[in-house]
Symmetry: C2
Subunit: 307 residues, 2 copies
């Protein structure tokens, strides 16, 4: 089945303790689409860029099955730009610069053939833009997933509450879950967030893995312990892309299949951080992905011998 | 098989955001012994206390199969005392007071019948004391496990290096593993630490679970996500007690059985934090423990459908 995603397509300047990248390709929708493209061959992207974005990168997205009919290209304007520096632990980062550029007045317009997509991933953007996309769907998608961040909780909480009522899966990090719910315990946070709308909650804990909640059902997926992390940028979006891509591929929203989707998302994120920017997501093979998922199996499976 | 443990038997003052306990029973050897007592019926404890330690608590340890022949009781002296305050996240804590008391000149003396114990858990103490215990073993134990902390790395690194050469399993937390190895990546840290002696390395990450390394073999056990954490004190020692108790019970040091030992240790730690001090470890049932391990199975198991 097809997957629609809305989010940024952007440039990033990235500094880590081990190197840096300037004007690297970034953006939530870029990572989500590329990651999902390994599972789902019909991906629809809604975003906005300036005339500074390399055509070769757009061509690459198209070649991976990403339909760019919903990508607005503004002549004479600049794409969204973010610059950040990671701390030694590679978990914390400082934002050095944010230039909204074309994103400042982004009004997403869904092409006619995007309006009945069964899987919808609303990347981190202002809740008003996320709502605008939802409002243009002619049919309620089978699964609506949403990412957001503390900034929108601080500045647009009413809008965020409204969108959350229409969302099936909320995928946010642990600090965001704590802020959104007002609860420190993630178990308690999940109960509060379920009440806000999302039936499923994915809490991304970076190098500490991810939790999936559905009512009293609970699943934990580790992050793969890696010898080297080159660049964590986009790992959360890559997770979301793998997760939603796998759901779109299988069309199965049982909790057992949601678990697999979390593992596939985690596997994709583990590739993402191996190189700067989107480099590692450009030419993965299905064999590499299956082998990586096999590593997750070996990492956590045990025979409890309870019988 | 039998398990010998050396470590503190002590009093703790504990403050958490949710309550406090004064003069609560604590100490590494207390937690280790109690936790292990659910798996292994022949536990030998080596420690030192003053004449201020309640006889009822010693009787309770004895009733759980803990042989106190190696527990020195110093008349007219006071037991080791620690006071700490946990931060809101319950992971970080400040030490408010440490009174070594009887521990200042502790010289462990192993009773004759302790000297051929096959499983040895060296709780967190000065490396010189840990070495003194090792030196009194008449036969090299089947498994020697050791806990230590940053303080000994800062003040007694040479002694620690010497002990590590004679250790099979090192069980420390993530920050300690980073300091000991000089590597931020835990995968790299494990390689460095293996070179120091321990064939197995358990890295305890608190609420983020635990990693088990043996060469290129890697296993991850989550911590159970809990709605309430009352008191994290002793969770690491309770983990170690469950881990070593399970190994002593089964006598099996294969990697598959080590995985189970990590899960049993994690299950015991998840009980420990539910109440202050050792309260929750006093009267668990085997049914409760099996059910808790079942929760770990459900938490992480998935069918990858890779075939």
């Amino acid at each position: 089945m097809s997957l629609l995603t809305v989010g940024t397509v952007a440039f990033d300047d990235i500094q880590t303790p081990f190197g840096e990248a300037r004007n690297a390709i970034g953006g939530a929708a870029t990572y989500i689409s590329l990651s999902a493209s390994y599972f789902c061959k019909d991906i629809r992207l809604v975003s906005v860029i300036g005339d500074d974005f390399p055509q070769a990168e757009l061509d690459h997205l198209s070649s991976r099955g990403v339909d760019l009919a919903g990508l607005q290209i503004r002549q004479g304007e600049k794409s969204f730009f973010w610059a950040g520096r990671y701390h030694n632990n590679m978990n914390d980062r400082d934002t050095l610069d944010t230039q909204l550029n074309v994103l400042a007045d982004f009004d997403p317009v869904l092409p006619e053939h995007f309006r009945q997509t069964p899987f919808l991933m609303l990347g981190n953007l202002t809740p008003a833009v996320q709502m605008r996309v939802l409002d243009q769907m002619e049919q309620r998608p089978k699964v609506v997933a949403l990412d957001t961040m503390n900034f929108w909780m601080n500045t647009a909480m009413d809008g965020l509450r409204d969108v959350l009522k229409r969302v099936d899966v909320l995928a946010i990090n642990d600090e965001e879950a704590r802020q959104l719910s007002g609860e420190h315990s993630l178990v308690k946070a999940a109960k509060v967030i379920h009440e806000m709308g999302p039936r499923f909650l994915v809490i991304k804990k970076g190098e500490h893995g991810a939790l999936l909640f559905e009512g009293d059902n609970l699943f934990f997926a580790p992050a793969l312990p890696l010898a080297e992390v080159t660049d964590p940028t986009g790992a959360g979006d890559t997770f979301a892309g793998g997760f939603m891509g796998y759901l779109a591929q299988t069309g199965d929203c049982s909790f057992d299949n949601m678990k697999r989707a979390v593992i596939y998302g985690s596997a994709m994120a583990s590739f993402c951080v191996e190189k700067f920017s989107i480099e590692r997501l450009k030419n993965l093979t299905q064999t590499e992905i299956r082998e990586r998922v096999g590593q997750f199996v070996r990492l956590v499976h045990f025979d409890a011998k309870l019988d």
